[in-house]
Amino acid sequence: MKSRTFLLTLILFLFFFNSGILIVSTITLKNNLAGFKDQSLREHYFIVSSFVKDVKALEERGIPHEDAVESLYKSYDHFYSEQKVIITIALDGKQLFSDVNHHTFKPSETSRLMKSNERHVLTKKIDGKEHIIVEGALPSPYDRYTFTYYYDISTMLHSWQTMTMKLLIAGMCLGGLLAICLFFVLNRIFKPLQEISTVSRRIAQGEYNNRITIKGKDELAEMAASFNHMAEEIQNKIQQITEASKQKQQFIDNLAHELRTPLTSIYGYADYIQKVVRTEEDKLFATNLIMSESRRLQNIANRLLYMATSRENVIERENIQIKELICGVKQSLSMKANEKGIELIDECKFDTLFCEADMIHVLLVNLIDNAMKACEKNGMIKVSARIENEKKVISVQDNGKGMTAEQLNHITEPFYRIDTSRTRSIGGAGLGLALCKEIAENHEAELKFISKEGEGTTVKIIFTTP
């Protein structure tokens, strides 16, 4: 593109510039020639008339006109030959006095046919030199004589040629200068484009943080700005995608682990029954384990299914008595709480909540269940429904072992467990809080975790819609 523009501009410039020079010089030449021709005609007329006058005067003195013509011609020729002008005279087309003048000119062919008062102007190359030739017959009674006037214009032509040459050379020099200037100008114009292409190539190769430096306020700067914007967007999108795929990979890894562990037990114990077991007691032990591990798998499957469906289902909300809801949750957990010796306290500061009761039930059960896992014996869990900053908030507060900030960041990820070994000694599949997050999102609510190691955790469900 750049080189094409460069060549095209240069060629067009040279073409028009040189054509201009040629046209101007041709016109000058033509004008000059016309001027010289006019001048020659006048000169011819003037010489002829004075010549005839002189011949007449000599004839009146009784000198025969042939002699008069001869002597006059000689003096005229002598006089004019000093002015780069040659004159010849012919009688009936035959050159006279060719011995007198030193010129070897031949009379023109047409001179014979000349009538008096008729004159011809032409240019002709004689002796290697360009001449303007004016031919004309003398007026009667001397009309048998043809008078020819030669004017040498070779100097003029030569100077014209030199001038044209000089102009052309100047044109070439200007062309060269133009080429250099054009090169720099084009370089400057195309530089942003080049930068855009390098940057876009880099971006295509995966260096997404490349940007174009923006200079000025022209169209190119605008384009660079929108290009940068595009690059920014691409970078963000790529980052999001990478993040998402990382999370997905993590999820799949975790899922594989979660499925493999119970499967190992189930397969192993079935194998054990088939090949090793000889007593009823062993068989019972193995079958029990197979059953409990199968239940664990089922649990995971249910949760995953629930998460998958809750993501797509539109929830049916209605106004629920918050007291009833919390009572229901307490009831379903009271047995477990009693077993562990944990006290459940509730507090209601508002009456109704616009939600899907079953979902919020699951959410609260999960949160309280987690709280119970964190609590020691004689722990205390407080469920309260309050209004904070004009928003309805349900919070679950425990006085258990709490979490670190790092752990807080991950707790809503599927399969995340505080205990890195993923031990199931305190139960659960690691999907509880991921599910809670889904439910909260479905209710346009926000889950907020506040925790301090050793002091306990508070989970707040903040409903953004009334």
């Binding site: 499967l263 090793v276 070994s421």
Partner: protein, 215 residues
């Protein structure tokens, strides 16, 4: 037999491995986290460690670095190549991915024990004496002639004693995958072992499955 430490936080899996290893005659110690594992290693003379990688308190790799050269087989639920490579690079003797088959586990344990010479060279049962390095079998002190395949079969039965082995599995283990023959071959050889080495009561036929050497 060998003393094996099982370090696995999943109680059912730990119990499963223990039961299987015990059935072939190993002595097993079960622990459920890294700390306990290090305690046991420092206290007792352990021949082999079966070590899970994801453990509470101290993870498997860290435990392994403090085992002072006790042969170790890693157990993991992850099939990732990096896990395997890291385990083996650290100098683990083998690597088992969950879920695994019991026979595979036993075979690997046996292989590591044999390589590290932690397993005895001979086997005694009711006056029968089997010497593995010289491949000789004595009954009440008398050398009994047997074919190579008979000896191989006997060795497999002894290594997997108390475990039922199907005829197909026996064909695989003794004759190899490319052997063209049917389960009758196994039956014939079992009959010969029974009569030659007085094992009629010891090698039991397991209904619809195969045979088991009961000790």
């Amino acid at each position: 037999m060998a003393k094996i430490l099982i370090v696995e936080d999943e109680i059912p899996i730990n119990e499963l491995i223990k039961r299987n290893l015990q059935s072939v005659g190993h002595e097993c110690i079960s622990v459920f986290d890294g700390e306990e594992a290090l305690n046991e290693i420092s206290k007792k003379n352990i021949d082999l460690i079966l070590l899970d990688i994801m453990l509470p308190k101290i993870d498997g790799y860290d435990v392994f670095q403090q085992t002072c050269g006790v042969p170790t087989i890693f157990l993991t639920a992850r099939n990732g190549l990096t896990d395997k490579v890291q385990g083996l690079k650290l100098g683990a003797d083998d690597y088992i991915v969950k879920p695994f088959e019991m026979l595979e586990l036993l075979a690997r344990v046996e292989a590591v024990l044999r390589r590290t010479k932690k397993v005895s060279d001979s086997f005694e049962l009711d006056g029968l004496h089997v010497d593995f390095p010289s491949r000789q079998v004595y009954l009440d002190g008398d050398l009994i002639e047997c074919t190579p395949k008979e000896f191989d079969l006997l060795e497999v039965m002894i290594n997997n004693r108390n475990i039922a082995l199907s005829r197909d599995k026996l064909l695989d283990l003794v004759w190899g995958y490319d052997f063209i023959g049917d389960s009758r071959t196994v039956d014939n050889h079992i009959q010969k072992l029974r009569s030659k080495f007085r094992l009629e009561d010891r090698i039991k036929t397991v209904y619809k499955l195969g045979y088991r050497l009961e000790v």
